[in-house]
């Protein structure tokens, strides 16, 4: 099940004449290597998605 986080912030209206900046062409910063604790439902879901090669949406079902 998708976990939707409810936020209480309300972004204000856009400034007059704002135009969306073009994509910078940059990627996100390099990923780092980490070692997960093999524990809990979230780890199980993480592994299940990987083993069954599911996208998040497919796994939601």
């Amino acid at each position: 099940m998708a976990n939707i986080v409810e936020l209480s912030v309300v972004p204000p209206p856009l400034p007059q004449g704002w135009t969306p900046p073009a994509a910078s062409g940059k990627s996100i910063s390099p990923l780092v290597e980490r070692k997960l604790l093999p524990a809990g439902q979230a780890y199980l879901a993480h592994v299940r998605r990987a083993v069954h090669k599911l996208t998040f949406e497919e796994h939601d079902k």
């Binding site: 204000p12 400034p15 996100i28 910063s29 997960l36 809990g40 998605r49 083993v51």
Partner: protein, 629 residues
């Protein structure tokens, strides 16, 4: 001290609840947790009503004592009492330091097995004939002289593994007595610093006790399971940085965990074997010994004690302090420490207030604080980056520790003490948190299928060092910036962090919120996607003088360090903009509800999509992607 057995209701026949247990196996104490009907886990008490069961076994005559009763044998029967065996599992005799504290039966070289640590105790064997004459049960010299009907005293040699098996068996028996059923499997804690040989030895000892070990779970993992099962505590988010402070008897272990919607990994760990309940005891023993001498004029030298009488007095005080410390933890009032015939026939009763207690123990609190600082800086973070403190271990039940640590953290730091969940066996109770986590983990594992190749692979992923534990994680926080006319902050608008740094990938986050679209009919939605630079700003601020304060000249200007978390725009990735289709007008202003999804793939590719969610349904999905490097 302990509540009677049976306050956790035994699960009735509900097939959905597997008969599994969680065992926290410390070097000093163990605890057992079972699953409840409600889907939570609770610690149970053994036959003696103990929830914290001392890891001790003692032989006295024909009797075998296990748990706190065995611990009490340390005063008069220490040579036949075995403690501290967990930490020796998987060790060779030659690896054990010769000066290892031996308040109990000394560790010896096993008479037959090369380089194997063992204990030799004296036991009375009920029936002398036929005497089991395995070589390790060498009959004592007195054998021939003893009439055949009398039990004879023999030496019994036990390996560390055998001791562990006896102990674990008794834990499982307590659980089975409670549940009225055979235990099908157990998850058992191991310290983070346990090496593979130690884990193997523990697993073997458990198997020898007929226990099906579902997993040996690192203590940090057990804590993470407990704290991420159930609702997210007030004031916290499912994505947070958690500091686990485990203060046991003989060690302090610290873990800085990145918790990301229940997925946890360690950012830094540290352990110190000079800080713990034993060190706290040393301070208090000295304090009470001084008081005893003051009252009785009987000299008493302790910590260390060399005189046998003093040693015994010290052992007695150490046992009595268990009660004193628990009282201090449980209530704000004063606590007593009573020992019958402490020395030279004099009884002793001392009283200590929490204030005095914390004063005596302050150096230990301070060392914990210092170590916490080292841990957090080793991770390249600041105390202000920590959102939550979780306490583990008996000594972490002391409120004075939380008070001492909280000083350096932000005011809104969430701890089980601020949440009021420590006392009365609440969810934050440090003495039960690991066993409960293990029970919850056991439930997950017991429900895994094994029918298909994939299912077996999923199951295997819970073994130590499995490839699925290797993961990549983001290194910068990714968020949405909603630009604002004349914004007051440096960011130039409303910042909404979506995917925090240190989030394992693949990751997905979905946030939902309302957007103010103004009064015009344009109804344009737009935001930029940035990677942020996060930090902590430290400023020295002069303390404002209290009104009516005099003698301004004389007083030194007081300065205080004020810390603040900072966020700056670092890298623009992309942006997204569209005209709202599902906005509603209220009081002359348009608003729409937005659901934004951000997904980072295993390769680092980012996809951000936004959907309007109106009363009439969901709008079109607007998607932008940022390819992987």
């Amino acid at each position: 001290m302990s509540q009677p057995n049976g306050s956790a209701e035994a699960p009735i026949e509900v097939s959905a609840i597997p008969t599994v247990v969680g065992i926290n196996f410390g070097n000093s104490y163990a605890s057992i947790a079972v699953l409840t009907k409600e889907g939570t886990a609770e610690c149970i008490a053994n036959e003696d009503g103990e929830r914290q069961i001392a890891c001790a076994i003692a032989f006295q005559g024909e009797e075998l004592y296990i748990g706190n009763q065995a611990k009490h044998q340390l005063v008069k029967n220490s040579q036949n009492t075995i403690t501290g065996f967990r930490n020796l599992l998987g060790k060779k005799f030659s690896e054990i330091p010769a000066n290892a504290l031996s308040v109990s039966a000394p560790v010896i070289q096993h008479p037959e097995i090369a380089d194997e640590p063992a204990y030799k105790v004296k036991v009375l064997q009920a029936s002398p004939s036929p005497l089991p004459t395995t070589a390790s049960n060498t009959p004592a010299a007195s054998k021939t002289a003893t009439p055949r009907s009398e039990p004879v005293q023999v030496d019994r040699v036990l390996t560390v593994s055998e001791v562990t098996t006896i102990f674990l068996k008794s834990l499982i028996k307590s659980a089975e007595d409670f549940l009225g059923k055979k235990v099908q499997g157990a998850v058992i804690t191991v310290p983070g610093w346990f090496e593979q040989a130690q884990k193997d030895a523990l697993e073997k000892a458990a198997n020898d006790a007929d226990i099906t070990v579902l997993q040996l779970l690192e203590e940090a993992g057990a804590a993470a399971v407990t704290t991420t099962s159930g609702p997210v505590p007030e004031g916290l988010s499912a994505d947070r940085t958690q500091l686990v402070v485990d203060l046991g008897a003989s060690a302090l272990s610290l873990y800085l965990l990145s918790i990301r919607q229940g997925l946890a990994f360690s950012l830094a760990t540290l352990s110190d074997h000079s800080i713990g309940g034993d060190a706290i005891d040393d301070k208090l023993i000295k304090h009470f010994a001084k008081e005893f001498t003051k009252k009785t004029k009987v000299p008493l030298t302790v910590c260390p004690a060399s005189d046998p009488q003093d040693k015994r007095a010290e052992a007695k005080l150490r046992l009595a302090l268990e009660h004193t410390k628990r009282t201090i933890s449980a209530s704000p009032g004063a606590a007593t420490c009573s020992v019958e015939s402490l020395k030279d026939g004099f009884d002793f009763t001392g009283t200590i207030t929490r204030l005095r207690f914390d004063m005596e123990v302050r150096p230990i609190y301070d060392s914990v604080y210092k170590k916490v600082g080292e841990l957090v800086s080793a991770a390249g973070l600041d105390l202000y980056d920590v959102d939550e403190i979780v306490y583990v271990g008996g000594s972490a039940s002391l409120p004075g520790l939380d008070e001492a640590l909280s000083q350096g953290f932000p005011e809104n730091i969430v701890t089980p003490f601020t949440q009021g969940t420590v006392v009365g066996g609440g969810v934050g109770d440090p003495t039960t948190i690991l066993a409960r986590g293990c029970a919850l983990q056991a439930k997950i594992l017991a429900q895994l299928g094994e029918g298909t190749e994939e299912e077996r692979e999923v199951k295997a992923s819970f073994t130590h060092g499995h490839q699925y534990t290797q993961s990549k994680a983001t290194s910068k926080t990714i968020g949405l910036l909603f630009p604002e006319e004349g914004a007051e902050n440096a960011l130039g608008g409303q910042w909404i962090p979506v995917l925090l740094r240190e989030t394992p990938v693949p990751a997905r986050r979905i946030v939902a919120f309302n957007v103010d679209l103004g009064e015009g009919e344009e109804k344009k939605v737009g935001f930029e996607v940035w990677e942020a630079k996060e930090g902590v700003k430290i400023e020295k601020v002069k303390l404002p003088k209290l009104e009516g304060e005099e003698e301004e000249e004389e007083e030194e200007e007081e300065e205080e360090e004020v810390k603040e978390k900072t966020v700056e725009k670092e890298t623009l990735l992309t942006s997204l903009s569209f005209a709202a289709q599902h906005a509603t007008k209220k009081g002359g202003r348009w608003t729409t509800r937005l659901e934004v999804t951000a997904i980072v793939g295993e390769d680092g590719a980012l996809e951000v999509s936004a959907v309007e969610v109106g009363a009439s349904g969901r709008g079109e999905k607007n998607v932008v992607t940022v390819p992987a490097a």
